[in-house]
Amino acid sequence: MSPRRTDAGGRIDRLRTIRFTFDGAPYTGHAGDTLASALLANGITLFGRSFKYHRPRGVLTSGVEEPNALVTVLRGEVREPNIAATMVEIYDGLTAVSQNRFPSLSWDVSAANQLGGKLLSAGFYYKTFMGPAIGPLKGTRFWMFCEHFIRRAAGLGRAGTAADTARYERMNAFCDVLVVGSGPAGLMAARAAADQGARVILSELEPHFGGSANWSGETIDGMPGADWAARAAGQLEGYDNVRLLPRTTVWGYYDGNVLAALERVTDHKERPGKGEPRHRYWTIRAKSVVLATGSFERPLVFPGNDRPGVMLAHAAERYANEYGVLPGHRIALFTNNDSAYRSALALKKAGAAIIVIVDVRPELSGEMRELADEAEVKILSGHAVVATEGGKALSGIKVQRFDMINGALAGDPRSIQADCLLMSGGWSPTIHLASQAGAKAEWNAARQAFLPPKPTQQWIGAGAFTGSFSTAEAIAEGRAAGLSAAGGTAAPTALPVVEAAPGDPDPAPVFEIKADGKSFVDFQHDVTAEDVRLAHREGFISVEHLKRYTTLGMATDQGKSSNIPGLATMAEALGKPIPEVGTTRFRPPFSAVSIGSLAAERFGDLRPERLTPMHDWHVANGATMYSAGLWYRPMIYGHPGETIEQAYVREARATRESAGIVDVSTLGKIAVQGPDAAEFLDRVYTNMFSTLAVGKARYGLMLREDGLAFDDGTTWRLGEQDFLMTTTTANAGKVMQHLEYFLDVIWPVLKVHVTSVTDEWAGAAIGGPRAREILAACVTGTAVDNATLPFMGIVRGKISGVPVMICRLSFSGEMAFEVYSGAGYGTHVWEALIEAGKPFGLVTYGLEALGTMRIEKGHVTGAEIDGRTTARDLHLDWMLSKKKPFIGSAMMDREGLIAPGRLELVGLISLDNQPLNGGAHIVEALDEADPHDSIGHITACCYSPALGKYIALALVKDGKARRGTRAHISDPLRNRFGPVEIVSNHFFDPNGSRMHG
């Protein structure tokens, strides 16, 4: 029997035992336990070490707001840090470990930090990492060396390095009414809206619907609240127009009533069911939202309030009533309001001894005294807890007489033995989503809390969220909100009857007990009340500055428990009322969201892939595929035992010696058609296209509006009003958008239609001295001789019975042809070309050989057209027509774009016969250790079989003028430093005699 498990009660399944480990030690719990409740049942009260001081910490809460009990959950190699133990449902094989401790949780060397607490006060990092402004250590490496260790000592969990193998998915949903939160208010709202016929989504961040009804011990309609909630949820399940989302946190409220939610589908399972994602990211567009998100209980601020064993009162009540776990055997309570009395009674009924209720208020109602009598507990009214005793676990408290008007302590402190102290500092409505939706929270002096603002979007609040803390009010407001959200009118039926303990919802305005010792405001970031006052003394008076300077409320819990106590402390220091200090605005997410869920299908094996028509052939014929954007292209067709370099050198050499063929289906292809198509192309390209004859192609260059180079490619004139434009693979989408923009927005009168036809055509480029012979051997219906098919000419014919379009153009520098066929016939035509090429030594080549031959020719690609280079920089100024304006023509001659010192395209030849590295810098100095400034960088490199040398293209400052000179490449990260000669980018066959044939 677990030391702290009650004999009966709770919603756990006592017949099912679950085995798990924490810090390597095996434990058991029951189905329905959280990691926190199961460890508490095993007598574990020490859960972690704090952020800065490494103080021992226990569990403070029972829910999503937990600041202390953060653990790392391990699944295989994957580790997920900073998970609240209160939110982890245990399953067989769960492996959790504690955080921020070394070497172990109970014996942590960095705990010495708390002795030097004054050093680690507010603004510590700002003050420290500025380093000394004067003296011998000013700006030294020593200081940066220290920073490393200081930063390591502080922190929470450690992120994993293994790839996350889980699957995530996205879902869009639409509804009339989204109900957030399923306490009595949410359940009533969902039911009322559903009865009106509205499409309803009810979300609940916990595994079970019912919220506080599951643990409040109240009776609703004559049955225990938990039973009432289970029945209500069960009834909702039967509605066709209701979708129930348990384990789903609505974390963002955006414009247009769009809400974001995270559903934890399988975190509570040993392994996911078939097809189940780990998390599901919901985007919910709701006509109307009912916010029934409840409220958070606040801690009180007093010395030692962070010791393991100190817990929020309602959390203990919940552990007892919902999980059948007592957080202690001798329990004391410390409160400023009535709600703790109900907690005392619940724990008493569950079997704990309640030692004392310390209440800051001098006068208490008769009702509270009756509750205390029923719990057989003594009340110390007008008293406060001034210290806690014990080491890693609470052994007792010190109390003293307290005057809540002036905060003064009087009399001698006295010790009371207790192994658990429950505190209640009042309640704060969970207004996060309303605040995100855009409105400012309003301070309510009676409730001592910020209440939700007037709605700025389509939402209605209900229950504790509005500051109505009783279950009867929640039920009434919930139903009214549900009706109103669904556009219905008040129902005449009676509301469920609630039997609950009495209590005044208004707390005494006491937040802090000032006494010696560390009093924590923000438990997770180790911010004390004294830190807040220090920040004030140092001049931080805006609440936004206070937050950033002290890091109050900036931890993973986002200040759910610390915001109001922090504000109250600041307000007191400023001598202003709380509403004048204001509160920071809540922003999404409400609680932590997995990055995986945000990426969902757009990542990994679910990312869409684009395959060319000949893809399967490439794979079947030994190609190593290379991902380029969404496309997959052959990199090399390697032979057994070949390196990548050996393969591409062989492919390129064979192409230049006989012939090679490459799949170019990925090139962007846009049909530009209409009476004004030629005029449009004249405006879009820097060179003329209206003068292009039908049946001919021309190489074109586009600039952006700002005069920088944008994209290049050939455009074929298929008819008077019919052009086929090709773009680079990477820019196909951008160019399409560019053309559409100009046609739609700038020149709507031009009669031109553009259509993306990239996927309609399969393309094969075949080049080399014998390419023409190969075509002649397989093309029917047209001649392919020089007269019929001159350079940049286009013919139509057939290959193996399939119509093809052939254009004679060259990227490799060889006599070359691009053969286009309908995409469905791509492989058929490809295979026919391969077959026809066999007697001529035709090889297939991939991207590497393609790149090698283009580098040898000095052609540019996206590596050189990088958004910073002009046509002149790339020696393409011969393409800039002077006869007409074109996009970019007005801006391309701006001072900065024609000034000396620009990076210009050059070729580099390695002089030490070693490979050159892509991205390496070019330097003038000869000293490897002190290479001085970069004068440029390498954009592409290869071994050139045509030259027998390692060569590269590079962008070099005033590169044209440096041709014939020497420099060095410097690549210290890869330990490469070596001499190069700067030459023209046209390494090979500069006159083009080979391609013109």
Binding site: D255, D744, A890, M891
Partner: protein, 98 residues
Amino acid sequence: MLITCPYCGPRDVIEFTYQGDGNRERPQPASQDLDAWNAYVYDRLNPAGDHNEIWQHSGGCRAHLRVVRNTLTHDISSVAFARGDHKAAARHKAEGKS
């Protein structure tokens, strides 16, 4: 945010691509007025309130739309085809094109 495309009806903003400030005036293509070009290429209005913007329904019909959006509230008060812009038609005529 929902944009009501005149072709496709109300669609989520995720289907659209923002294409910039709709107030920019492109100078005559042959203009050498660098200040005017500079203003067109680089200057953007940034009003707190109603803003005239160009959006493309890139995940739908691909039409460019002229959208008046309030930058403070994201309320959209009008959506029209950018092609229907008479200023652009007039400018084109002024250039002496058919």
